[in-house]
């Protein structure tokens, strides 16, 4: 199982000091956090994508591209990439670029975005949220898997003879997750394509997570990608730790009580019972998170939210140290021992694994445009157009 962190990039006043970082500081803090996670040995850093204050992460591939250059082993990802308001043509280009730059040390997670006013800023309408997610992603996949694409749909201008560059690394597109909290349609979409499904359950009771994951697994099997228990599942999580449990409670409480999402609502006592939020010692976090495998089956990625609600950078870095140093090694041992069978994937597929799989299946032909198409126009001579493109035009 992979363990990592994901950030929503909120700029929030520290309720204990009244201090608010500015956008520049917050962006730089995120870079520091990601580098620290890499050095500490965590497996994944994922950034959100938001286009409205108080969030700063509007440009994920810029951030992840930089991180690809300054980190060594960590997988760079998103949580989430907006498949609704981003043009799929730009997504195909930007994430293929990131894939090439990072040497395949990346994947990405699609999400719809639930803030209505954001949609028109990008020429879209939230009422089309699900159809946009469906159409845009279908196009994105074609742009990655077919060198030359003719396409016509409902939500953007048609494409004729378009080639997205750079072509995916080794001819194999990045692995894609679909993140959703409440929409079974997105679980259905993930299952249809055999992609990963991450239920971001950080603010939700586990019985809801169990239902959504079960549905995704059933549909994954239905669409012939393997057994239900072989589907690629991720969960969100949230923890605050100190060596002594009481210290964690005392320190985190003002952040909890004033947090943008749940502040001024339920008590921390109630919320830690109801949701995966765990406040306490590293051992308590291990115990709690080891139990989720029993709820949803063995899963491949566990992400934690650690930098939010105004927590200062120093505290966040300490949380990462506790997570990487004291929680993950033990937690990994426990949960991996619960893997039901050897043919249940231990981790989400890496780029190398995906290349090997694609080669074994004979799916990889071109690795760059010149292999099949005119380098200037992106088109190919008549009769040599790849079969996939012809099907697409039919």
């Amino acid at each position: 199982m992979q363990f990592g962190i994901f950030s929503v990039s909120d700029v929030t006043t520290d309720p204990t000091t009244g201090r608010t970082p500015d956008d520049t500081e917050r962006v730089r803090d995120m870079l520091t956090i990601a580098r620290h996670a890499d050095e500490a040995g965590l497996d994944v850093f994922a950034t959100g994508e938001h286009h409205n204050p108080p969030f700063v992460a509007s440009s994920p591939t810029t951030m992840l591209g930089y991180l690809a250059g300054v980190t060594k082993q960590i997988t760079l990802s998103t949580a989430t990439t907006l498949i609704t308001t981003n043009d799929p043509v730009r997504l195909a280009e930007e994430y293929a670029m990131l894939q090439v730059i990072s040497g395949g040390r990346m994947d990405l997670m699609m999400g719809r975005g639930n803030t209505g006013p954001v949609y028109p800023w990008f020429g879209q309408d939230i009422r089309n949220g699900i159809p946009l997610a469906v159409e845009n992603y279908a196009l994105l996949r074609r742009l990655w898997t077919e060198d030359v694409v003719d396409w016509e749909g409902k939500f953007r201008t048609p494409l004729q003879g378009f080639t997205s560059t750079p072509r995916p690394l080794d001819g194999v597109p990045p692995f894609v997750w679909h993140g959703s909290i409440r929409s079974p349609e997105i679980a259905e979409q993930a299952a249809y394509y055999g992609d990963g499904f991450l239920h971001n359950n950080i603010f939700w009771p586990v019985h809801h997570t169990r239902q959504m994951v079960r549905y995704y697994r059933q549909r994954f099997e239905h669409y012939g990608h393997g057994r239900a228990d072989q589907a690629i599942v991720g969960l969100g999580g949230q923890a605050f730790m100190r060596k002594r449990s009481q210290d964690a409670w005392d320190e985190f409480r003002p952040y909890f009580d004033n947090a943008p999402v749940y502040g001024h609502g339920p008590s921390m006592e109630d919320f830690t019972q109801q949701t995966p939020l765990t406040v306490g010692s590293p051992q308590q976090v291990i115990d709690r998170y080891a139990s989720f495998v029993d709820e949803v089956g063995y899963y491949q990625r566990q992400l934690f939210l650690v930098d939010h609600a105004g927590l200062p950078l120093k505290t966040v870095l300490e949380q990462i140290d506790l997570l990487a140093g004291e929680v993950v090694p033990e937690l990994r041992k426990i949960v991996e021992a619960k893997r039901p069978a050897d043919d249940v994937p231990l981790n989400p597929p890496s780029h190398a694994q995906r290349v090997a799989t694609a080669r074994a299946a004979g799916e990889v032909v071109a690795t760059h445009v010149g292999d099949t198409a005119d380098p200037y126009t992106g088109t190919v001579a008549e009769g040599t157009r790849p079969a996939a493109s012809q099907e697409a035009r039919a």
Partner: protein, 230 residues
């Protein structure tokens, strides 16, 4: 007139009663209980067994506000929501505060799935200090339940303080009911309205075909349908 029974169906019926009264005891709860009694009597006369589940919103006040902030129900709230959305009939009673239903009453319906009450027979009641606010039932409560596509019975019952003073002994009500002449009107202002409203709700509850709660996953379109629709 008797309430028709559902042919071949189970005679068991559930009635959810939601009371938004804040004091204990409250006249809102009292009205809710009277409305429930009237409905149950009618249903039992028609051969049904009735289970009544009464929900005091006061007990759920914190959970309702938490649910508005966290977007999931906690504590006793999920059970209350199941009662309300799974019932064959619903009685909803609120005090009238500042021109309309109470904030707590509205907040509770705000955390109910807006599709969950479609077709559910509902009887509305309200209480207030004077009869001058009685139309609050019609201009605030009825539109709320119409929006939720509930099947609201024509008679809604408003009980002002004076109504309680004037009310007849409920034990005499049954003789004062249908078929009784207009001479009974004076002695049974509130009780008569309660009886009529209960009768209207009972008729609808008796014939209600309750499909039970909708399965959100069963309603999910297959991906082929999603693709086709895009």
């Amino acid at each position: 007139m008797t309430v028709p029974t559902t042919p071949g169906g189970s005679p068991g019926r559930t009635l959810a009663v939601v009371s938004a009264g804040l004091s204990q005891p409250s006249s809102t709860r009292l009205l809710a209980d009277r409305l429930a009694d009237a409905t149950v009597r009618e249903l039992e006369d028609a051969g049904h067994t009735v289970r009544v589940e009464t929900i005091e919103l006061r007990d759920l006040a914190h959970a309702v506000v938490d649910a508005m902030l966290t977007r999931f129900p906690s504590g006793d709230l999920p059970r209350a929501l199941e009662s309300v959305t799974g019932a064959d009939g619903l009685i909803a009673v609120t005090p009238v505060f500042t021109t309309g239903y109470s904030g707590l009453f509205k907040s509770f319906w705000d955390v109910v799935d807006p599709d969950a009450l479609t077709g559910t027979p509902v009887l509305l009641g309200a209480t207030g200090g004077t009869a001058r606010h009685s139309l609050a039932l019609e201009y605030t409560m009825r539109p709320l339940f119409t929006y939720l596509r509930a099947d609201v019975v024509p008679t809604s019952v408003y009980a002002a303080t004076d109504d309680w003073a004037a009310s007849a002994d409920p034990s005499t009500l049954r003789q004062a009911q249908p078929g009784a002449g207009s001479g009974q009107r004076d002695g049974g202002g509130l009780p008569r309205r309660i009886a009529r409203a209960g009768r209207e709700l009972a008729r609808r509850v008796a014939v209600r075909e309750n499909d039970g709660p909708a399965d959100p996953f069963a309603a999910t379109p297959s991906f082929t349908e999603l693709l086709g629709g895009s």
